[in-house]
């Protein structure tokens, strides 16, 4: 492939089919389609929820009905029909698995295809996996080891049953149902998710990981994740996703809330590879996610994301730096191909003194895709000596794609220092020339440059995850990465 040119690379990218496209045929317990109070009561009843949670859902539903879908994002899509979605789908066996062997073999097969076989995970990596398949947590491992330290890591529904006081105390404090249209929808119909609580002063000894997977036709997934790190605690949380190929658009409106109390640290890493639609832009997942964390004094929240999937992405992992000396970080690689559209970025809200935030965003656009960075850096009056550094780079692979930057910078404190810089360019011909002159083939050279371009972000991922992220980047941009 000595004559491998950028055009050929672009062509290759266009011909790239989604590799994880398959549907697992598991009998699912699904509620009728549509959305009304009865459906919400049904979901709540099926999940055997306490009354306060049902009330929370109904209140969120009332709020949602008053809201209209946001239009400001730089994306265009056919709006989902919220009455044509089934809001609950659970694998049919409702009994808990006693051991790993009890799990439906077909489901195990699915996990194998995803490369996340649980045995392997358990044996090789020491990562505890809370596997979510269509809204109900199937198996949870390493639970005992974690519970020795007092760490609670379970599905959201289990947490509601077993630790209602914690859930009630923290749920909706960072992302209230009034926050936005999709957060309200999630508040009304969320089915499951993960809950994680790290007690005071405990450093979680392993990376906690949840694999999400959308399954069963016509089911939207409404996950809710709540991570609470008590004073002085540390946790690194991984989230990764793949979804089967499907024609009709699927909606995913998750809410992730992180709470880092005094001196705590939360590291939240995401690798997202939902079905992006085919070459004609048909199908694909709509990913409308609200992710936000709050930092108390001296706390730190770090978001790292590698986004390669979804037809439409609408996602802004944010940090509210409430406590003094708190730190927020956002590292992102977003790759869009074919007709994918991504409008992603972050919000850093500086409230406390000496708060610091760093934003590194790397966008790669290929095919006919549109990739936007949208960010907000807000320095409030009381945020003495706040510091922000933002860097948003975009790499364009073809002449039919677009890369956009919409940063908002609002400063109300004179002692704050804010820096923002953004660049947009294609792979430098001089860089390519330099590499090729030294005997590196063009394909390898492109791969080298793209790899180097993303390095700053990939370096932030935990080891186990970095491998997967690189795999996904390679799949999304095969021929150029890896």
């Amino acid at each position: 492939m000595s004559n491998y040119t950028e055009n050929e690379l672009a062509k290759d990218l266009e011909n790239q089919e989604y590799k994880f496209g398959f549907v697992t045929d598991i009998e699912a317990d699904t509620v009728p389609i549509g959305l009304n109070e009865d459906i919400i009561r049904l979901i709540s009843f099926k999940k055997n929820e306490p009354e306060w949670l049902l009330n929370y859902r109904l209140k969120a539903f009332a709020i949602w009905q008053e809201m209209t879908e946001p239009e400001w994002a730089h994306v265009q899509y056919q709006k989902p029909d919220f009455q044509a979605i089934s809001y609950y789908s659970a694998p049919k066996q409702t009994k808990k698995y006693e051991s790993w062997d009890d799990v439906d073999p077909e489901m195990k097969e699915t996990m194998k295809k995803l490369g996340i076989s649980m045995e392997e995970q358990q044996r090789l990596t020491g990562v505890a996996v809370d596997f979510v398949m269509d809204s109900v947590s199937v198996a949870t491992s390493f639970k005992e080891k974690l519970s020795e330290l007092g760490i609670i890591f379970c599905s959201f529904s289990d947490a509601v049953q077993e630790h209602p006081e914690l859930v009630q105390k923290y749920m909706g404090t960072v992302v209230p149902s009034t926050d936005n249209f999709y957060a309200a929808l999630n508040g009304a119909v969320f089915t499951d998710g993960s809950f994680c609580y790290i007690p005071k002063g405990v450093r979680c000894p392993m990376e906690l990981s949840t694999y999400f997977r959308i399954n069963a036709g016509g089911t939207g997934q409404f996950e809710r994740t709540l991570v609470v790190a008590d004073e002085g605690a540390y946790v690194s949380y991984l989230e990764g996703c793949t979804a089967p190929q499907r024609d009709e658009n699927q909606l995913h409106a998750a809410v992730v809330e992180l709470i880092a109390l005094n001196d705590a640290e939360i590291k939240y890493s995401t690798v997202q590879n939902w079905y992006p639609g085919d070459k004609q832009g048909k199908g694909g997942v709509f990913n409308f996610v609200t992710k936000r964390g709050i930092c108390e004094a001296n706390a730190k929240i770090s978001w790292t994301q590698v986004e390669t999937g979804s037809a439409v992405t609408w996602k802004y992992p944010s940090c509210i730096l409430k406590g003094d000396n708190s730190v927020g970080e956002f590292y992102s690689v977003a790759v869009t191909n074919n007709y994918q559209q991504a409008d992603t970025g972050t919000k850093m809200v500086h409230l406390g003194k000496n708060t610091k935030s760093t934003i590194i965003s790397k966008g790669i656009s290929a095919g006919k895709s549109q990739n936007s960075y949208r960010g907000l850096v807000q320095i409030y009056k009381g945020a003495q000596n706040a510091r922000n550094f933002s860097q948003c780079d975009s790499l364009l692979m073809t002449d039919e794609c677009g890369a956009h930057t919409f940063p908002y910078i609002e400063c109300k404190n004179p002692s704050a220092k804010i820096e923002h810089e953004a660049t947009t360019s294609k792979i430098g011909e001089d860089q390519l020339f330099y590499c090729m002159q030294r005997g590196i083939s063009e394909e390898k050279a492109i791969s080298l440059i793209v790899n180097g371009y993303c390095k700053e972000v990939l370096n932030q991922l935990p080891m186990e995850f970095a491998v997967e992220a690189q795999k996904l980047l390679a799949i999304s941009l095969e021929g150029s990465v890896g």
Partner: protein, 412 residues
């Protein structure tokens, strides 16, 4: 978040007469349609996110009155220029123009106002109600020996002006647009400036905004650039309680160069918003944008710069930067530098910084015997120099520096 209880736009437009200018019917129809059912935009509207119009909606404007020629002449800054005075319904045009330069009243001449985009109610109101304006044409290959100075004096009431410039091929000119305010008056003005820059023309626009603390100064600049032209707009906001600049340059010919620069020195409760758009429609062009400002007291500065690179505009180089220094606890800065890029072979970058003076630099100067005040002044002066360097006219530069020194007690 403010909401205006009842429609305040209706009383605001009630006393406006229909435009006396030759504005195309289609444009008027579009403006009419746009205004249907509109009120003053609230901060929920993206373009007014940081601008509260309640102040304007509730303002008691003083009655419009006209100044005589002798009074108007006091407001000019350049002594040696072709000076046009604009004051409410009257426009004074200089005599003895050189060959190649033609200046007409837009009310008399069938103006060539083409379809120009407007983004807000004020742009639409201007189309329907512009009462005055000049049409300036510079013939091809003509290099003006002296700059053109347009002095707009605001003396109460609401004024909508609509000016048109046509710069012929290979022409060269500098235009100084001076906006001033008569003392003891409260007024509103909206000025639409349209520039057509032909091939190889070299045009520099300097806007000296020096209105008073009780003037609402709205500006809308629309430019079209042909191939190989060089076009500059330098906006210096020296004073004015409420200033909005909405500048849009459409780059339509290859190898054109565009410079948009702005400087603002804010104090008290000033609100200055700069909205810029550079629309790169063709390949091989360059644009450079530098906006710098200082904000003290309770002032708010807004910068929203957009660089738009269309699919065919390959090999575009676009640079944009916005830097701010906050001088007080209650001042605020909102910056939104945007890039929207649909071509791949481009180099575009933007940067935005907000901060305060470097303590090390201050210490360095203090160690060498400068007082705290003069060390600060020196650094702020140096900070703004990036933009002031574009002002080559001695008289203007001296005026700018004197005004800033006066207002901020800076001793240059």
């Amino acid at each position: 978040m403010e909401t205006l209880i009842s429609n305040k736009l209706l009383p605001f437009v009630a006393d406006l007469g229909p435009t006396k200018l030759q504005v195309p019917q289609s444009l008027q129809a579009a403006a009419q349609a746009y205004l249907q059912g509109q009120d003053f935009p609230t901060t929920k509207a993206e373009r007014f996110k940081y601008t509260r119009l309640a102040k304007l909606a509730n303002a008691q404007l003083s009655a419009a009155h006209q100044l005589d020629a002798a009074q108007l002449e006091q407001y000019g800054i350049l002594t040696d220029a072709y000076t046009i005075y604009v004051n409410n319904d009257q426009i004074l045009i200089p005599q003895n123009l050189p060959v190649g330069l033609e200046i007409h009243l837009s009310t008399q001449e069938a103006g060539t106002f083409h379809e120009a985009s407007f983004y807000d109610i004020f742009g639409a109101l201007n189309i329907l109600h512009a009462q005055n304006g000049v049409s300036i044409a510079l013939a091809k290959n003509c290099t003006l020996d002296k700059p053109i100075q347009i002095v707009q004096v605001n003396s109460g009431g609401k004024s909508f002006y609509r000016h048109h410039f046509n710069f012929g091929a290979n022409s060269e000119a500098a235009i100084y647009f001076v906006s001033k305010q008569q003392e003891q008056t409260t007024s509103f003005s909206h000025t639409h400036l349209q520039y057509e820059i032909a091939q190889d023309a070299r045009i520099k626009i300097f806007k000296l905004q020096d209105t008073a603390q009780n003037h609402f100064d709205f500006n809308e600049d629309r430019a079209q650039q042909a191939a190989k032209s060089h076009f500059e707009i330098n906006t210096l906001t020296l004073d004015g309680s409420f200033v909005r600049n909405d500048t849009m340059v459409a780059v339509q010919g290859e190898h054109a160069q565009t410079y948009l620069n702005g400087a603002y020195w804010l104090k008290e409760e000033q609100h200055v918003a700069n909205y810029t758009t550079i629309d790169h429609q063709v390949a091989n062009c360059e644009s450079f944008e530098t906006y710098k400002g200082v904000a003290g007291d309770k002032a708010t500065a807004v910068f929203n710069g957009k660089v738009f690179v269309r699919k065919d505009a390959q090999k575009t180089n676009a640079y944009q930067s916005n830097a701010n220094v906050l001088l007080s606890e209650n001042a605020s800065v909102n910056s939104k530098p945007e890039l929207e890029i649909y071509a791949d072979d481009v180099k575009c970058s933007h940067g935005s910084t907000t901060g305060q003076l470097d303590e090390n630099a201050l210490f360095y100067l203090r160690a060498r015997g400068l007082s705290a005040a003069s060390a600060k002044t020196l650094l702020l002066q140096a900070f703004m120099e990036d933009v002031l360097t574009y002002v080559k006219h001695e008289e203007v530069l001296a005026y700018v520096q004197q005004r800033i020194a006066e207002r901020f007690n800076w001793n240059y």
